[in-house]
Each structure stands twice: as structure tokens, then as C-alpha cells.
């Protein structure tokens, strides 16, 4: 490690690799979020009935809401342990700017939650009777949208560090801000099912991703600094 140059890219990479390694070593974590996603989606046919036309119609919305909830439940993973054992303070006094470190952490969070969800989504889509084209659009929308969920969620997770009632509080803060992602994400899949042009929705998700990549490291870094004060 001693001969690594201090540059933003290395900072992102450092935090990213560290968090990824931690997630992989604590075996259950990555799988749990995926299983939760599958379970929530599977509850809907049981709740609304197995009528295939209805299921097909609600599939994009159900999958997006389930993805949103799974990401929400994994948000404490980004900072909570590092905050509890003091690692976050060590990271704060490292030569890398906090914005760079949190960028790496958010990327790692997406790799261990959003990306696996996007990968299992097609299997669930088949259960709901979706065609290959719609499945492709859902996967694409999840790929573009879930990173934004990680970014917005990281702000909420950092703001609520060490606060009592943390996880439900994080949900209260974060869910309203998730709404645009939900609308455009589920909207893309619905548009593709209705045979309308869905690229506008995907473009907007992409725009959100770029905007989030630009603004979220700064906001999250500010939130972490407030928590460490």
C-alpha cells in the first residue's frame, strides 16, 4: 500500500475494494438482499391473485418497489459498521478527500445490492409472464436506476448515523426522494409493455445517474462530516 499514489481514482478504488472485500467475506449479506427481493416480489401474486394479465400489468411496479425496499434495507451497511468501530474517523483523516472515499463506498454498495438485483430480475419477470423485450428494459432500468438509489440512500444513511430509530428514520428521509427514480424506472418498463417509446424514461434515469454521480459525493461527504463532528 505504501507506494500507492494519492489520487482521487486511487481513493475511490481503495474504498471500493475495501467495502467489496468486507461484503464478500461476510457471506450472507449479498445473498440476503437478493433473497429479500425475490421474496417480496413473490408475495404479490399471493396477495393479488394469480391472474396472469393482472400480474403482467403490475410486474414492473412490483419489481421496482421491491428493489427499492431491498436497497433501503441494506443502506446501514454503507456506513454503520465503520461508524461504530471508528473506521470512518480514520478514513476522514486519511489523505483522500471524504467525497472520494464515499464515492468508492457508494459504488461498492451498488455492486453488492443493485447489481445483483438487476441480475435476478429476469427470472422473476418470467414468473410474471413478461417477454424478453420487457425483461431487457427492466434490467436496463434497474442498472441505471439502482445506482441512484445507492447515492440518495447514502445521504440518508450518513445523516442518521448513530441516531436512535435509525433505520425507519432513514426510510422516512429517503423514500420521498426515491420517487422520481421509481417513476422513471417502472415507467420505462410499462412504456415498453404498452409499445410506447421507453427511451425517454431511460434517458431521464441516465440523467439522474449523472447528476447523482456529480452531486451525491459532495452531499454524502458533508453528511458524514456532520455525523463525525
Amino acid at each position: 500500500m505504501a507506494n500507492v499514489a494519492i489520487s482521487p481514482e486511487n481513493g475511490v478504488l481503495l474504498a471500493f475494494r475495501r467495502d467489496l472485500r468486507l461484503a464478500v467475506r461476510s457471506k450472507g449479506e449479498v445473498i440476503q438482499a437478493m433473497v429479500f427481493f425475490v421474496m417480496v416480489v413473490s408475495l404479490f401474486p399471493l396477495a393479488v391473485g394469480a391472474e396472469s394479465a393482472l400480474l403482467k400489468r403490475i410486474a414492473p411496479g412490483v419489481m421496482w418497489v421491491a428493489a427499492l425496499l431491498s436497497v433501503l434495507l441494506t443502506l446501514p451497511r454503507i456506513f454503520a459498521n465503520d461508524y461504530a468501530d471508528g473506521t470512518l474517523e480514520q478514513l476522514a483523516i486519511s489523505p483522500y478527500p471524504m467525497a472520494v472515499i464515499v464515492a468508492g463506498k457508494m459504488l461498492a454498495h451498488w455492486f453488492t445490492t443493485g447489481l445483483p438485483l438487476a441480475i435476478v430480475a429476469p427470472v422473476l419477470g418470467l414468473q410474471f409472464g413478461l417477454g424478453a423485450h420487457e425483461l431487457g428494459v427492466i434490467v436496463l432500468s434497474l442498472m441505471l436506476g439502482t445506482p441512484v438509489l445507492s447515492m440518495i440512500g447514502a445521504v440518508g444513511a450518513a445523516l442518521t448515523l448513530g441516531v436512535r430509530g435509525g433505520s425507519i428514520l432513514t426510510a422516512l428521509l429517503v423514500l420521498p426522494l426515491y420517487i422520481p427514480v421509481l417513476i422513471f424506472g417502472a415507467g420505462a418498463a410499462e412504456a415498453s409493455m404498452a409499445g410506447i417509446d421507453y427511451t425517454a424514461n431511460l434517458s431521464l434515469l441516465g440523467a439522474g445517474l449523472l447528476l447523482g454521480a456529480l452531486a451525491s459525493p459532495l452531499a454524502v461527504a458533508a453528511a458524514v462530516k456532520i455525523a463525525l463532528d
Binding site: 445523516l159 441516531v163 422516512l172 428521509l173 423514500l175 420521498p176 417513476i183 452531499a219 463532528d229
Partner: protein, 251 residues
């Protein structure tokens, strides 16, 4: 000497005390005049009948609901850039009023919607985004109330309002486009041209709501200042004795 003189809670406290009653009086006068003109003088709408009169409360409260969140965000920027405690206290003082106006806007909207659209609630773009605005207010209040460390609550709250306000336009347009995609109710809320006899009470009510919000926020910020600064010497001097301390007011 500058306006920053009043950025200190100890100098703002008496100023707020002097200003608040004036704004309350203005609110009462304008409100009474606006309600009188709106409820008794304005002509009956030829399409909606008497029901339309609810807009004299509905529209000003809906404006205030949005405006107060924006003002909170401006105070949030001030709190984080100038590191002024008073800015954070103002955010905290404005939030309950913002919630009240948002609830009023939704409530009067539902009461108007029932006879006019035939339903209390439609997933109309404006209604949905107002509901989300209510969630944003509640999120802010939940965060600030959950933190025992006031200094951290101040900064965290300020950051949250800034992040939230940056999202308000995005939320509004996303809901609007979602609404057109789903093809819900698309009733225009009001005619494009409004008669002067209707515009006047609307303006009066709007200013009444402004004055009310200012008065109540000033009173509330005074209470917040006292609560936070109860150990400070100037508060003890203010009330002549140590009565405030011994009464055991605790956060």
C-alpha cells in the same frame, strides 16, 4: 454593524418579539378582509357554484406550503455557509407551519374535489407532489427530533432541506409526466382569466397567510431560542431572576 447583528439569537430575540405582534395584526386584518370579500362579496361561480370559494383558502395555503420549504432551504444554505445557529432555528421554527399549510392545502383540496370531481382524492400531479412535499417536511422533523445533539441536528437538518429542495422540481416534473403517462384526471384547477372580484380576496388571503407564517415563526423561534439558550446569562437577565432555570424546563 450590519444585518448580521441580528444573526445572534440574543439580539434577534427582542427584535422578533417586537415584530411578531405586528405581523399577527396584519394577518388578522388581511385575513378578515379576504374572507369577507371571498365568502360574501365575490360572485358565485357559474360552473362550480358556491363550492369554488374554498380556493380562497386552498390556493394561498398551497403556495405557502411550497414557499416555506424553499425558505427553509435558503436558511439551510445560510446555516451551512455562515454557520449561524439562528438560521437552523428558523428552519426548525418554520417546519411545523409548513406542515400545517401542506395539510390544509391537501384537506381543502379534498373537500373541493369531492363535489367538483366526485372524489376526495385523485392521483393528480399537483396533489401527489403536495403529498410528497408533506413527506419531506415530516422527514425533516423526524430527523431533527431524533437527535439529542442539537448542534448536529441543526446541521443535519439544514443539509436534508437543501438536498430535499434540490429534488422538489425533479419530483414535481416526474410526477407530472407520470400522471400524463397514466392518463389520470386532467381537470384544470381554475380558469385562465380570473375576475378582479375574485382576484382581490385571493391576494388578501395570500398576504394574510404570509403574515401569519412570519408571525408564528417568529414566536416559535423565540421559544426555541429560550429553550436552547436557557443557560446563557442574557436569558437570565431577560427575566430578571433565575425563575426560568429553577422551573426546570428541559428539552
Amino acid at each position: 454593524m450590519s444585518i448580521f447583528k441580528y444573526a445572534s439569537p440574543s439580539t434577534f430575540y427582542p427584535l422578533a418579539g417586537k415584530m411578531a405582534p405586528w405581523f399577527a395584526v396584519i394577518a388578522a386584518i388581511l385575513g378578515a378582509a379576504g374572507l369577507y370579500l371571498g365568502l360574501f362579496r365575490a360572485p358565485v361561480d357559474f360552473q362550480q357554484g358556491e363550492v369554488y370559494r374554498i380556493i380562497f383558502i386552498h390556493v394561498p395555503t398551497a403556495w405557502m406550503a411550497m414557499l416555506i420549504y424553499v425558505i427553509m432551504a435558503v436558511y439551510g444554505v445560510m446555516a451551512l455557509t455562515f454557520n449561524t445557529r439562528l438560521s437552523s432555528m428558523m428552519i426548525e421554527a418554520l417546519a411545523p407551519t409548513g406542515v400545517m399549510f401542506t395539510v390544509l392545502a391537501l384537506w381543502t383540496g379534498a373537500l373541493w374535489g369531492r363535489p367538483t370531481w366526485g372524489t376526495y382524492w385523485a392521483w393528480d400531479a399537483r396533489m401527489t407532489s403536495t403529498l410528497i412535499l408533506l413527506f419531506l417536511y415530516i422527514g425533516y422533523m423526524a430527523l431533527v427530533n431524533a437527535m439529542d445533539d442539537k448542534k448536529r441536528a441543526d446541521k443535519a437538518g439544514a443539509l436534508l432541506v437543501i438536498v430535499g429542495s434540490a429534488n422538489v422540481p425533479i419530483i414535481y416534473f416526474s410526477v407530472k409526466w407520470w400522471n400524463t403517462l397514466h392518463q389520470g384526471y386532467s381537470v384544470a384547477a381554475s380558469g385562465s382569466s380570473m375576475d378582479a372580484s375574485m382576484r382581490m380576496p385571493m391576494l388578501l388571503m395570500t398576504f394574510a397567510c404570509w403574515a401569519y407564517a412570519i408571525a408564528i415563526a417568529l414566536w416559535r423561534v423565540r421559544a426555541i431560542i429560550l429553550e436552547r439558550e436557557k443557560e446563557a446569562a442574557w436569558v437570565a437577565n431577560l427575566h430578571g431572576s433565575a425563575s426560568l432555570k429553577t422551573s426546570g424546563v428541559r428539552a
